[in-house]
């Protein structure tokens, strides 16, 4: 089954990022000779797909920011409104919105994970004392 809305938001970005990280890990494992041919093939194939997807994402980002959002020229004078500068950056690089969202969601997940781990260790520690 495939629930959810594939390709809609941060999910795709999450997997793209995962492949980039896993490619680096697999490369290091290959150097240390801890890698298997099957895993190297899998990561290489995914890396090729990811590269093509990133190129497509850059293309979409360029087209949207240049022809659709038509970002207004703005001078980066020190006295200028920071909100306008942020808006300009987001208009130039709309991909930053899902990137920031993804980092926030994953960050929150890890914080909750750590809280659970700390609570589990605390209750295990109390049980040992009792």
């Amino acid at each position: 089954m495939n629930v959810g809305l594939p390709g809609t938001g941060i999910g795709g970005l999450f997997y793209l990022t995962s492949v980039v990280i896993l490619f680096v890990i697999e490369a290091l494992k290959s150097i240390a000779r801890h890698s298997s041919a099957k895993k190297r093939r899998l990561i290489f194939e995914q890396a090729c797909i990811t590269t093509a997807m990133i190129v497509a994402a850059i293309g979409v980002n360029y087209i949207v920011s240049t022809f659709i959002l038509k970002k207004a020229p703005i001078a980066y004078a020190p006295s200028h409104n920071p909100a306008l500068i942020i808006l300009h950056i987001l208009q130039s690089h709309p991909i930053l919105v899902p990137v920031i969202l993804m980092i926030s969601i994953l960050g929150l997940t890890q914080v909750i994970y750590l809280l659970f781990m700390i609570r589990r260790r605390y209750s295990q520690g109390r049980e040992r004392i009792i």
């Binding site: 495939n2 959810g4 809609t8 938001g9 995914q46 993804m102 589990r120």
Partner: protein, 345 residues
């Protein structure tokens, strides 16, 4: 060449009014490079001649004392009769590539491999709904699932075609019936016990997908409610499993936020600002999602089919949004659980 019988494998086929497809399913099992030792069809009180056709194919047919009410119930009824080391669940409308079982068997090379699943491709790709599902599967099984497999955390061992260690299944009292998505529930439970779940892309199955909106909406409703029910049931445990917690978090976020965006935000922005450019949001990611799908389509010599079917995926995605929102609203806000299991074809 004499085929090796897989003495250690029983296939369970739960069936309710599947007379149109049951013979094809059984034949695809018999034509496997490694046929199973036993094939058990659970005729779940069908009103057609599913049981008769299955018996005519020479397989065991079990009939429970009353309709079990769900696929999981039918599978659990058969599980009590199984003595082989491995058990496979196969939907009655699903056929297999000739080497599918052989490929899946190879996944059980370690003692704590609890389940293995394969690649799913719709058997028929003709209508808008089948085409949309075709692209959905190509995307998920080409891009998402191999990465989940690399990390060792496949999100779901697909209910239509999966193989399990019988002992682990029985320890778990079989397929759980507490949600509409028993495959997701079982997979996440196995992850909690640190069992290994494998995804084997070379093992291919071909289910019949809903061909019209009437059946598609039943399946979408069941899957959406199943997802939300599993989130509610497993969220605390899943949060404690690294990487799986991230996969589930982004999936849940995309499901809810993506649905809100499609159903409310984009139409409202278009109307409020009188600017049709907001409608670009429905397909702005198409160049990106097209890449893995087209790649797999080329490998399968189905490039043209992918190009023609891709717009149908965009339509299915929008339709899916309504069902996901309804599921979140119904299950979490109204506390109204979906409990009636309705088939998708």
């Amino acid at each position: 060449m004499k085929k090796t019988i897989s003495h250690d494998l029983t296939v369970i086929i739960p069936a309710y009014n599947e007379s149109a497809s049951i013979v094809d399913t059984i034949n695809s099992l018999k034509q496997q490079t490694k046929p199973p030792k036993r094939i058990i069809v659970v005729d779940d009180f069908s009103s057609d001649d599913t049981g008769k056709k299955a018996k005519a194919c020479g397989v065991e047919v079990l009939v429970p004392p009353q309709n079990t009410g769900s696929k999981a119930g039918a599978q659990n009824f058969a599980l009590t009769h199984i003595t082989t080391t491995l058990t496979m669940a196969l939907d009655a409308d699903t056929t297999l590539a000739p080497d599918a079982i052989e490929k899946l068997l190879a996944a059980f090379d370690k003692p704590n491999v609890a389940a293995a699943c394969g690649f799913v491709i719709p058997r028929h790709v003709r209508t808008l709904w089948e085409r949309g599902r075709y692209i959905e599967y190509l995307l998920a099984f080409t891009f998402y699932k191999p990465i989940q497999e690399y990390i060792g955390k496949p999100l779901i061992s697909s209910g239509c075609f999966s193989m399990y260690q019988t002992a682990f299944l029985k320890e778990h009292d079989g397929w759980p019936q507490r949600t509409m998505a028993e495959d997701m529930d079982l997979t996440w439970s196995f992850h909690q016990k640190n069992f290994i779940i494998r995804f084997i892309p070379e093992a291919i199955c071909y289910p019949i997908e809903p061909e019209n909106y009437h059946f598609m909406q039943k399946q979408l409703k069941r899957w959406s409610h199943g997802f939300v029910q599993n989130l509610a049931l497993h969220w605390k445990d899943v949060l404690q499993i690294q990487y799986l917690n991230s996969i589930v978090a982004v999936s849940a976020w995309d499901a809810l936020m993506g649905a809100l965006l499609y159903v409310f935000v984009l139409p409202l922005l278009t109307i409020l600002f009188h600017n049709p450019l907001f409608l670009l949001g429905y397909f702005i990611d198409s160049p990106i999602t097209f890449v893995p799908v087209f790649y797999k389509g080329l490998l399968r010599k189905e490039g043209i089919m992918v190009i023609v079917s891709f717009p149908c995926f965009l339509v299915l995605r929008i339709v899916n949004s309504f069902f996901i929102l309804e599921a979140f609203w119904s299950e979490l806000v109204l506390r109204k659980r979906l409990i009636a299991y309705e088939k998708g074809h």
